[in-house]
């Protein structure tokens, strides 16, 4: 397989009630990614946009950002799902040989609608939706199942929130840099047991873009490309009742495939930094199990022992993670961008020293129905 590199990245600052329109956010990040790569829009020959019609409140929402993404006169198509899957589709387009420099851009404004109504609409309209279930309550069902099966406690979840909000203080793009304690998390308002306000990610607006290029072109442009070493992706059953929510089986499979491609045998030792999709604090622990950083049920041990802190053996979410900024659809692409910055040594105050292999992770569907795992390196 030909090597593919990420040659440019761009992201907005993530905020609630951002005042720019979808198009303005998209233009901002595309311009940043182009400038980062040292190329112009004429060098892009195809565009992948990432959006969701319910979040945008318009049908064929991708088409409305065609001009802002520079897609006019080019081939453009869309992924309706997390940006990590948009990047996957972009990668496949490059690998097809039919396309050269490929732009992937995601946008979302959670603040302009009603998140609970939109996540409720992800559930089956005939058997589940009328119950009022949404992202928070379904995740609470998962958290409760996970902590009961493997005897984790709410303090361990709270520690993830403390760590990531603290890390966010080093990230100028993060929405919620916070100095908080475990007690602050435990005493924050209960949303749905065991998830409290500070265990949950915020409502966010923002956009992100990356440019992918095959080795044949990537070497011609200015930035040192960050190479894609491995990718894995896998999906589980749609209904949350069909799955054991304490077992991230599709993530295990996705990670296994990505590690095989990147020749990684001991992920905890060989990976230098990871950006994972912690929409809720418990998810970081559960996904670490799925990523095989530890055995089943031992996610809590990693946070207790400080393994995932900055300065630990494997820092997880130096950016502050999704819990510090959660633009839906964008957040998985943001994880990839953060991994790129780490490999390039451009992560400034959140830089993990000498990062050579970085992992980025995105999810799609309720309670992590499907996962996409990326391994990036020099």
């Amino acid at each position: 397989m030909e090597r593919v590199g990420i040659i440019g990245v761009g992201q907005t600052k993530y905020e609630r009630e951002k005042r720019e329109t979808f198009g303005e956010m998209v233009y901002e990040v595309v311009k940043k990614a182009l400038d980062d790569a040292g190329i112009t829009i004429e060098d892009i020959d195809n565009v992948v946009t990432v959006s969701n019609d319910f979040w945008d409140g318009r049908t064929i929402s991708c088409m409305a950002v065609a001009d802002a993404s520079g897609a006019y006169g080019k081939d453009t198509s869309t992924v309706e799902g997390d940006g990590a899957f948009g990047a996957l589709y972009g990668l496949m387009r490059v690998l097809s040989g039919a396309y050269n420099n490929t732009l992937v851009v995601a946008h979302c404004k959670g603040s302009e609608s009603y998140s609970s109504a939109i996540t409720n609409a992800a559930f089956d309209p005939i058997y589940e939706r009328i119950l009022g279930i949404d992202a928070i309550t379904s995740s609470a069902l998962q958290a409760k199942r996970y902590m009961t099966k493997y005897l984790l406690n709410e303090e361990q979840f709270a520690k993830v929130s403390v760590k990531n909000h603290k890390n966010a203080k080093n990230n100028p793009f993060a929405q919620l840099p916070l100095d908080i304690t475990v007690d602050d998390v435990l005493n924050s308002r209960m949303l749905s047991d065991p998830i409290k306000l500070l265990d949950a990610s915020p409502i966010s607006d923002g956009a992100a873009a990356i440019i992918l290029s095959a080795e044949r072109q990537a070497k011609e442009v200015s930035q040192n490309p960050v190479w894609i070493k491995g990718v894995g992706y896998c999906s589980d059953a749609y209904r949350i009742g069909d799955r054991d929510l304490a077992e991230p089986n599709s993530l295990r499979r996705a990670a296994k495939d990505a590690y095989k491609m990147a020749s990684i045998e001991n992920p905890l030792k060989e990976i230098d930094v990871a950006e994972v999709y912690d929409a809720f604090s418990y998810q970081e622990l559960l996904w670490m199990e799925g990523l095989n950083f530890c055995r089943s049920g031992e996610g809590g041990k990693l946070i207790d022992e400080g393994v995932t802190e900055m300065g630990g053996e494997l820092p997880v979410n130096p950016s502050g993670g999704v819990i510090s900024a959660h633009p839906v659809l964008v957040a998985g692409l943001t994880r990839i961008i953060e991994a790129v910055l780490q490999i390039r040594g451009d992560a400034e105050k959140r830089q993990v020293p000498n990062a050579e292999i970085a992992l980025a992770h995105g999810i799609n569907g309720m309670c992590g129905q499907s996962h996409c795992v990326w391994l990036l390196g020099k």
């Binding site: 311009k31 009328i130 009022g132 958290a143």
Partner: protein, 171 residues
């Protein structure tokens, strides 16, 4: 007269958002989307809801190849992709796989918070059914608890014909 639009992008920080809002009072537009849908329930769903409405019985279906019993029923096995053709009646009693007590209110919820959701594995089924828990002390719910379906009086052929599941008082 020429008025310039402030669209300069600071590559480190993004749009200089404060600048334009100093110059112009921003406007927002209230959307009016309201689209009614009518979803077909399909063959297995229709049978499931008719049995629920008319006989207060819960039916699932069984994969002929791997033997998994699905509730709600479906036509294709999600595990082995076989066509499912065999109906199986499952119990109205079951075991709680997980639960949460909801403490916030919104207008989508079918009852006022606090209330509880559970995923219930009905006796004879292999999958869990998402539903409400009722007639229960919210602080005394636990995983593994035995529960039973409580049916509504005025049943319409929908999932809320089961009002909720309540703790089973074993004889």
């Amino acid at each position: 007269m020429t008025i310039y639009i402030k669209n300069e992008i600071d590559l480190k920080r993004g749009y200089k958002t404060m600048d334009w809002k100093e110059d112009v009072k921003e406007m927002v537009y209230q959307g009016r989307i309201k689209v009614p849908y009518t979803w077909s329930v399909g063959e297995v769903g229709s049978r499931f809801f008719i049995e629920l409405r008319d006989k207060k019985k819960i039916w699932g279906d069984k994969c002929p190849r791997c033997g998994t019993v699905f509730v709600p029923p479906r036509k294709v096995c999600s595990k082995c992709y076989s066509n499912i053709g065999e109906w199986v009646e499952v119990g109205t009693k079951g075991t709680l796989l997980t639960f949460t007590v909801v403490r916030y209110k919104n207008n989508l919820q079918s009852r006022d918070a606090p209330f509880a959701y559970g995923i219930i594995k009905l006796d004879g089924a292999d999958t869990g059914l998402l539903h409400l828990l009722g007639e229960v002390d919210l602080e005394q719910i636990n995983i593994g608890m035995r529960v039973e379906a409580v049916f509504g009086e005025d049943r319409k052929g929908e999932i809320l014909d089961i009002k909720y599941f309540r703790p089973l008082k074993e004889a």
